[in-house]
């Protein structure tokens, strides 16, 4: 029996800094039939806890990693095979398993972010995957490319997928001009030009959704489809206290209170996550940049830019995803959208729905993008 019928489940790499993960528990029993995309095992990293999705379908024949085990990325978690494979063959496979080579700093070469100079600013982005009509991930206010750590790799299986870091964010330049949405929209458009993408699927989270919408309205020929996740720009309500809280909080404790609003389950906000946001905020220029953006995004406690009726005139495919427990931008903004828009409300999720229900969001995205290509 060749290895062709035996498929491996390995430790994924979530985010740039991940080198290993700790197994919390299996979510499926040995012998269970699993389908590709099913969540099979819960893993904890220094930054976050998440569920690993099986990339393959078959029978979970062996749970190799056990609760409490620390497994490097690429290390063997389990074995999937159909019933015709013998236990001896599976033993043999586990025994002779060699993890794929990762470079000594734990980062595969195609997994490193790049910088490109756009309009006098240095913008950072991470490209993964090859071929297919490209997709671009646009994070929200105070976010960065790691907001997509559970999604980027899955989407990149079938196409090239870019995660961009907006001006003022991540490791991109902290100059945001007057902080208006226009500056951010123009930056993304100029970045598309600089990368050489004539058109792309845009996937925006929160403020990134408003940027995607505005770009679609101004340059419809550049936008193959729009996926709006917990998006700004669809209604006027927003938790202004969250934005000002994130801008002004300068200590771990005061910041944590605000970050906890991002998730339906506040225990998702680990010490490391708070630390990372704090370290980002302490970079020169970040607080000023965020304050400028926040002041333009929300005026008198309401979103300043809302597409409203003009949405009817957009003729590109649209997918709108929301967590029903979103405390930042209410899920009610998903109601009353044009008939042609696919609307999906995920239960038990907050504003960071693409992290809290990564499997659900990934399935919707893969299917939607496939149909919109």
């Amino acid at each position: 029996m060749g290895d062709d019928n035996i498929q491996k489940l390995t430790m994924p790499k979530w985010g740039l800094a991940m080198t290993h993960g700790k197994v919390i528990d299996w979510l499926v029993a040995e012998g269970a039939v699993i389908t590709a995309g099913a969540e099979v095992i819960e893993v904890e990293t220094e930054k976050i806890t998440g569920n690993v999705e099986s990339p393959v379908s078959g029978i979970l024949r062996r749970r190799v990693a056990q609760s409490g085990n620390d497994i490097p990325i690429g290390g063997l978690l389990g074995v999937v095979a159909d019933a015709s494979v013998t236990d001896a063959d599976i033993d043999q496979f586990v025994e002779s398993f060699i993890p794929e080579e990762v470079e000594d700093d734990g980062e595969a070469a195609d997994d490193r972010p790049n910088f490109i100079e756009v309009g006098g600013r240095r913008l950072r982005y991470l490209k993964r995957g090859e071929g297919g009509p490209p997709a671009v991930l646009i994070h929200g206010f105070a976010g960065d490319l790691n907001n997509w750590l559970f999604n980027h790799g899955v989407l990149a299986v079938s196409r090239e997928v870019y995660a961009i870091e907006l001006p003022g964010h991540g490791e991109s330049s902290k100059d945001v001009g007057d902080g208006s949405l226009d500056v951010l929209v123009d930056s993304v458009r100029d970045w598309l030009d600089a990368i050489g993408l004539t058109s792309a699927h845009l996937i925006g989270h929160s403020m990134g959704g408003a940027i995607a919408l505005a770009l679609a309205e101004r340059h419809p020929e550049r936008v193959l489809s729009c996926t709006l996740i917990a998006s700004a720009g669809l209604g006027s309500e927003i938790d202004h206290g969250y934005l000002t809280g994130v801008v002004e909080a300068d200590r771990r404790k005061s910041l944590k209170v605000h970050l906890e609003k991002l998730f339906a389950d506040p225990s998702q906000v680990t010490r490391q996550l708070v630390d990372d946001v704090l370290k980002f905020k302490r970079l020169d220029g970040v607080t000023d940049a965020l304050r400028l953006i926040s002041d333009k995004l929300v005026v008198d406690g309401r979103q300043a830019w809302v597409i409203g009726e003009r949405l009817q005139q957009l003729s590109i495919p649209m997918l709108v995803i929301w967590g029903d427990q979103d405390q930042i931008v209410p899920a009610t903004h998903a109601a009353g959208l044009p008939q042609t828009t696919q609307v999906e409300i995920l239960e038990g999720c907050g504003h960071m729905v693409q992290m809290e229900s990564a499997g659900g969001v990934n399935r919707l995205l893969v299917e939607f993008l496939g149909g919109a290509d």
Partner: protein, 346 residues
């Protein structure tokens, strides 16, 4: 972000970036440019352990070699700070501070207070601390507690490259005198350091590791020994919470007290001599403000009350290490209150 940098290079980068940003920043010290001659050769050294290497080449005469006269050049830096410059002065070993105590204790620390809040003294004094370098008694002390004692001085004692860069930039931008203590054994320690400039506010301790059984309060190189001890203790089911003070003045009392209130057991680890030290200071703080939370006596792990020995074997014995720390933590973790059983309260 994800670049690894040594502690020493993190300090160099902080100096370089701040000097590029602000022309009023100047460096003074023995051999900070690099000895005799023109540029090139002059830049070959960059401080006794090479921390300021390359800065003379980039910033020219703003990097000044001084005579071996600490009282003169520290005084000059303090004077320059009161009149518009932002000097960063390197006083090679903190053991030599004694010759310029008047400039530091009685002048720099007092100006703001004595001149009705109208005078500012934005000077940073960088200096090396620490035993274990085979430097003998006059080059190995850790004297931060002496400076912590003086109101008007801020004292920074970083333990890792990220903190070193962020705290040094904060120190340079601060308008009061800051003494910045660099443990010489940490210079080659590597860690993630962002390329961009950033600051870490003073008076914010870092919780290096969370745990519910015993709190370890420590600083500088002893943070690393405490982490080693905690890793060993974890195997025996003892979870340590490690607090890295980062600055001794201002002191983050809240973080210390909150941790002690949750664990009830505490070990204070300090490489310095034990009398009138950070270890006694922290212990007194806890006894004063969190006594009711304690489930065991406060334990201190420090050097003995002797000069740092030159004999390498004795020097190794002198310094606290992961073994001593783990033993102290075990003692505290296993301690059972006896007075609760002997008093008949309920």
């Amino acid at each position: 972000m994800a670049r690894k940098l040594t502690f020493q290079h993190a300090i160099n980068e902080a100096l370089d970036q701040e000097m590029s940003r602000d022309e009023s920043i100047v460096l003074l010290g023995e051999d900070v440019a690099g000895g005799q001659g023109a540029d090139g050769e002059m830049d070959a050294w960059g401080g006794v352990l090479g921390v300021t290497k390359g800065l003379y080449g980039k910033h020219g005469d703003r990097v000044m070699d001084t005579p071996i006269s600490e009282s003169a050049f520290v005084g000059a830096a303090i004077g320059a700070a009161t009149s518009g410059l932002r000097p960063v002065v390197e006083l090679m070993f903190n053991d030599f501070m004694g010759v310029c105590f008047d400039q530091i204790f009685n002048q720099a620390a007092k100006f703001r207070y004595m001149f009705g809040g109208k005078a500012e003294t934005p000077v940073v004094i960088r200096t090396m601390i620490g035993a274990g370098f085979r430097g003998a008694a006059q080059h190995s002390q850790s004297l931060y507690s002496m400076f912590t004692h003086i109101p008007g001085l801020k004292c920074v004692v970083p333990s890792n490259p990220y903190d070193a860069k962020g705290l040094l930039i904060e120190a340079i931008r601060d308008n009061d005198p800051v003494i910045f203590f660099e443990h010489k054994n940490l210079y080659q320690v590597e860690g993630d350091v962002p390329e961009e400039a950033y600051t870490i506010p003073f008076g914010e301790a870092e919780i290096v590791r969370e745990g519910e059984d015993v709190t370890i309060v420590t600083l500088a190189e002893m943070v690393h020994e405490s982490v080693k001890a905690a890793e060993a203790l974890q195997k025996d089911g003892i979870e340590c919470e490690i607090i890295d003070l980062r600055t001794t003045s201002p002191l983050d009392e809240d973080t210390i007290l909150e941790s002690v209130e949750s664990t009830g057991r505490v070990v204070v680890v300090d490489e310095a001599n034990p009398r009138c030290s950070m270890a006694t200071d922290i212990s007194a703080l806890i006894a004063d403000k969190a006594f009711a939370s304690l489930k065991a006596p406060i334990k201190m792990v420090t050097a003995p009350h002797t000069p740092v020995p030159f004999n390498p074997k004795l020097e190794d014995l002198y310094k606290p290490n992961a073994g001593n720390i783990a033993a102290a933590v075990r003692e505290v973790a296993e301690y059972q209150k006896t007075w609760e059983t002997t008093t008949s309260k309920s």
